[in-house]
Amino acid sequence: MTTEQMEDKVRETLHSVALDRVRAPGDLAEQVVRRRSRRRFSQAAGAAVAVAALSAGVVFGLGGGGAAEQDRPVRPAVSPQGWKPWHSDVPGVSERGCLADGSSLYCGGSDFDAAKFDANTGERLWTVEVNREGDGPDHPFAARDGVVFAYRNHTARNEPGGDYMGGTDLMALDAGTGDVRWSVRMPQDDRGDQAAMLINGAIWANTPSLRTMSALDPLTGEEKWRHTWDKGIVCQRAVLSGVPHLACTPDTEKAHDTDVFRLDPVTGSAEKVTTVPGRQALIGTSGDRMVLGGLKADADRDLRVTTVSGSGKQSSHTYRTEGQVANRNVVGDLLISVSWKGEASVASLSTGKTLWTAPVGVSMPDEETLTGIAPPAVSEERGIVYFFSPTGDLSGLDLRTGERVWRAHVDMGRTKFRLADSPQVLLYEDVLVARNGTTMVSLLPRTGD
């Protein structure tokens, strides 16, 4: 069959599909409005950036956010030993995102579920090929004690009928060699921030069922304990200083209160520590505090943020959201937000006060784009919060005042077919790694010299 005939046959097939039997539900508009309402709730609370909050919060601390830290001046950037500026643009290795861990970068792409890079040089050290295809936004998400954790397709095979068998595995890789130490099948294809997390002595993963979180030995994958919650309940997961916690609420249209449970990291036994009024979305963690967000019913631009300590102590503040939030991050005591209008704001979780509001300093992508701006990254050491737009703009604002202390533009290469990208800016000591799609650029933001 010639190409033209083939095209005609495809055209004919598409037009022959029995679409007249497809009817949209009569209440679709209402469904959309209701769903958007729930989504706005979630977005305003910033649940989508929980993992960024977790990683940044752990790495950069900023615990307490006291006056001494707020007053710390921006110090000059110092180049790590052996580092030189580098640029990488290799298809297939980094489109899904990266994890910075010391002098190593672990990335995922369309061809590799994991690829290790030397953060000093950009040299690729090892790779783990995808099973079939790598088309999601997931990437290696944690590394500890010589083990890197990532996801991959359960199999590349098809069922006898020809359909893809699918499924997701959590896998543990040897950080030195990239060898797969062990893998465990997940009950669904959720590779999001809360699918698996490091806790004290284990990797805590949503397996083997949708309503179960299990603690697995990081070296062997052996199950240490599991905790299952009741049907009809949804539980968000967070780790506070290495201790697993659940924030659970009934899965209903009507919003119910949210119960917070602490799980013993050794035995898995659960203890209810408090109940937070209303349905809450997990924004992130701050040391041993869980940061939850809920919208006030009478003014949905107001974000009600509640922090819950491991002992159950609650503290709530309301933040005014000016315009739709493009990205948000919790770092230490700070709630950092960027609006689609290009305004950055930093608020204290302890006091509820907005510390400053300032232009973000990068050109914002169109709100219609599905990628958005990278989650803000904070260098506690330098007292700077960094922003990165997929256009290649970078900026650094003084964490104390919002004053712009640095800006740059990096060439992110020609636009390629990389619609699934979500840009990132990562920190390796004082060095930045800006990543969008296949392109990674490592540079030292020189300020305060």
Partner: protein, 183 residues
Amino acid sequence: MKPSNHDEFRDFVAMRSTALLQLAVLLTGGDRHAAEDLLQIALMKAYGRWAHIQQPEAYVRRILYRQQVNRWRLRRHRAETTVPVLPESDGGTGGDSDSELRIALWAALGRLTKRQRAVVVLRYFEDLPEAEVAALLRCPVGTVRSTAHRSLAKLRVLVPELGPEGRTEQVRPLSYSSKGMQG
């Protein structure tokens, strides 16, 4: 949102949602559940910007395409997939090979990647030129061309009855009869 905008949105959904859902069904390879989800997401985005949108249908279609190739992993377990929509048979001619070929081809379309399927639907269902497809998906024209080429090549592998590229051209024109493909 102003009440008038809300009413406009409801009217638009009432008027155009079935056509848009049909498009979403094609984009998702016949998975009705995924198609509804895709359309809901596109309409949610439209709803949020309703006051600023000049051409709602074009806007929603654009979001549908982009969202489909950009979706987060939403593959479901086999047990959760809905019964796919099938191509119409030619009616009453059970075992008609042309119908069988279309069904096989439709099944194969469902096994393309989301990106490949979006390009195929835009090129061969919407009949858009490569440049317009590229603009919609925000990628180079060359990428559209190569994606379409790879998609057709993959379909040939998945549906061997289609034969290798150009084979019949060298022998004689391909025709289909009720007894099967004649080469």
